[in-house]
Amino acid sequence: MAGPDPRRGRWRRSALVRAVVERRPATVGAVLIAGFVLLALAAPLISRITGQDPYTYDKFALDPATGLPAGPLGGISSEHWFGVEPLTGRDVFAMVAHGARTSFLIGVLATALAVVLGVVIGASAGYLGGWWDRVVGWTGDVIFGFPYLVFMIALSAVAPPQVPRTLLLVVAIGFFGWPRVARVVRSATLGVARRDFVRASQVMGSPTWRTLTRRVVPNLWGPVVVVATLSIPERIGLEAALSFLGVGVRPPTPSWGRSISDAIAWVQTDPMLLVFPGLALFGATLAFNLLGDGLRDALDPRTAREGAH
């Protein structure tokens, strides 16, 4: 149910806000996301205030007999809110907070890339049809059939270290994400293209690209917002999974996935090392899913089913 008037933007925003406010899970999701964003933005500031950054080694926070964090629960103290990492004494709270920057930056930018590519490709495929539609469909099949984990692992070995790893991940994760967006957008385009105001524009002799950009695309915002919101947690999860496998962002840049991977070996002796980054990753994914579900129910019941996969 796209907005009734394709030329007005104000109504859409208030609809969004209402959709979120009316649904309690979505509200919870939105608040959580706001919290994480705040944490991510403020991480350097917090580091400056507390003097705890995720890079500095602190052997005085460790038990000299074992290399484990000194003190119970992974060394939780007023100084180290989430404890410290064994063998290094680095502050876990700082790692989680700075890890949020990594996760959100990559998750949001990769989604943005996937959405832009997906909307352009999907809308044009749906509107133009013909050979272009078939090429897009088939390319999507290739990408769906592509074991992207393998590709990413290879890429991480090929790419020289001068290439910023964050950029590489954004491009790779975003690229593999566009076919899904394109599918949703394409089917939505097919629906919009049948509507009267588009027909009218065609009949009046507007150029194709003009009809597409002025009439069709602005009416796709419902499905696009939903698919984007639901994509972000997937992209965040993918970044974490790649870092978990050791091919994501490079140490010492903090990443939740790598923190979780590092915690495996210590799961018996220092379980708190797993708990905090794990909770952060889970919380962020959950928050976006809650918000996305709420938006979907409100804006786009039809993609509810398609979008689930």
């Binding site: 890079y55 500095t56 080694y57 052997k59 460790l62 000299p64 007999a65 074992t66 290399g67 484990l68 064994p86 063998l87 290094t88 070995a157 020289p160 270290p161 050791g246 490079r250 140490p251 010492p252 590092d262 495996i264 070996a265 210590w266 018996q268 002796t269």
Partner: protein, 566 residues
Amino acid sequence: MNTHSSPSRRLVLAGLGATSFLAACGANERQGSGSGQSSGSTPTKGGTLTVLVSSTSTNFDPAKSQSLAITSLGLVHRRLTTWKVESGKPAELVPDLATDVGTTSDDGTTWTFTLKDGLMFSDGSPIRAADVKWGLERSFAASFSGGLTYHKDLLAGAAGYTGPFEGARLASIATPDEKTLVFTLARPYGDWGWVASTPAFAPVPEGKGAEADYGLKPLASGPYVVSAVQQGVKIEMSRNEHWSASTDDVRPAYPDSVVFSLGQATDVVSQRLAADSSADQTAFGAGFVSPAQLVQVSSNPSAKGRLVTSESGALAFLALNTRRGPLQDVQVRKAFQYAVDKAAFQVATAGTAALAGEVATTLITDGIAGREEFDLYPTDPSGDPAKAKELLAAAGHPQGLSGLKLLVSQSNNGPAQAQAVQASLAKAGIGVDLQVLDEDAYYAAINTVNADEYDLALASWQPDFPSPNANLQPLFATSAIGNGGYNSARYSSPSVDAAIATAQATVDTDAAAKAWVAVDKAVMADSPVVPLIYTRNSFLRGSKVTNFFIGAFPAYPNYLAVGVSS
């Protein structure tokens, strides 16, 4: 090829992160006796010993193997010579198939070995000099490459030789009779006796061994034959009826059968062995116990008593690529000797300094006969960032250095160690970016000189045989740069090359040792690497495994001596 090449690559090279247990009381004294004590019995014949291995592929092809003389391959194959490894003593070169460790009639170019009497393959046929020759020639065939290749470069006229299967034979290995082997080398080589202990010196019956999977069903000369293979799962060995104990001084061969259980994740192995359930009581782990597991084990009195730690081990070092930017300047490289916090490296390696291994200052490792201790850059183990900054400023870098690329292997705790080095260099104003690679990709980068090189590399080296020669030549000779060599610092000095050549040609052991110590000092004066620690390795065994010990070299348990109690 991988079979033993991958495990033994790790065995020999990747001492990185190899860890050890050593409480403040000092495990060195403990480790020799630890095994016998807790099992409370002297080794007896019989039983089944299980070895838990992380690799999924293993073969027993002597041509493709890089296995140490005292680990898996040694159970099946004998070589001309081998190592006598005892707790607390340096490894000793002893005869195996041969009656002595080789005699040279001249300056070390011609070497003669005589086979013992009564040697037989597992099919009952006699082992002749021609079979040893065939085994060596076979290692030149393209399909059987991948093993230790020291002999290939040394045998006269071997250049361009591609194996005996098309009929070509190698004239530099003469077999005047069934018992005698005479080797003619391209140049004098004092350590040829050690080279004769590498896997390719195991006999393969003349004319046989053409099939790619020979390693799964080789004819054995040692006390065990491979009796069953489930690829990727396990290898079973039973007694070789034709092996004669009276000809073999280094293999007591206690168990009746040995099982290699493959694909066992190292951390899981540690957990299982620590728990010591009945199935695991007669097993030991081939992999190092990780830092996290060491903490676990040290809080478990039963497991603690079954942990065996080496006194010393592979040299962990930071290679400074002498061909790159500011690192070409020896004064800049010397700053690194003071900048690196070796104490933090120890903690990152194993939790505590005592667990990780002693701080290293020389290139020849502990446990190698002839080693001399010295320190050209005396400083606190935690480093001296101020002095490093001073040296950098004096060398024309008052702002420090930045953007150096540090290469590190993903395996054995490498990233954690690299981050420790990175953090300590940062204090001295040296900015470093890490490049973490999978183990094989890492070695490929070290082994190949390319345009996009690293500046620094975290590396580790344990010699293939216990001679200072094997410490120094592979890491610092010009010929070891690229093309598969391990000269990770790309260090090239004509005078050091000449000194290495002279030392290699020296047959007299004492004279050779002195020559090697001189090489050690000459290299360190040029500061192509920062020695970090001599990495200790720890291994866990089940409660019914007996006679499980580690000698002064190598830092691995002596598989040949292990037994099980009932």
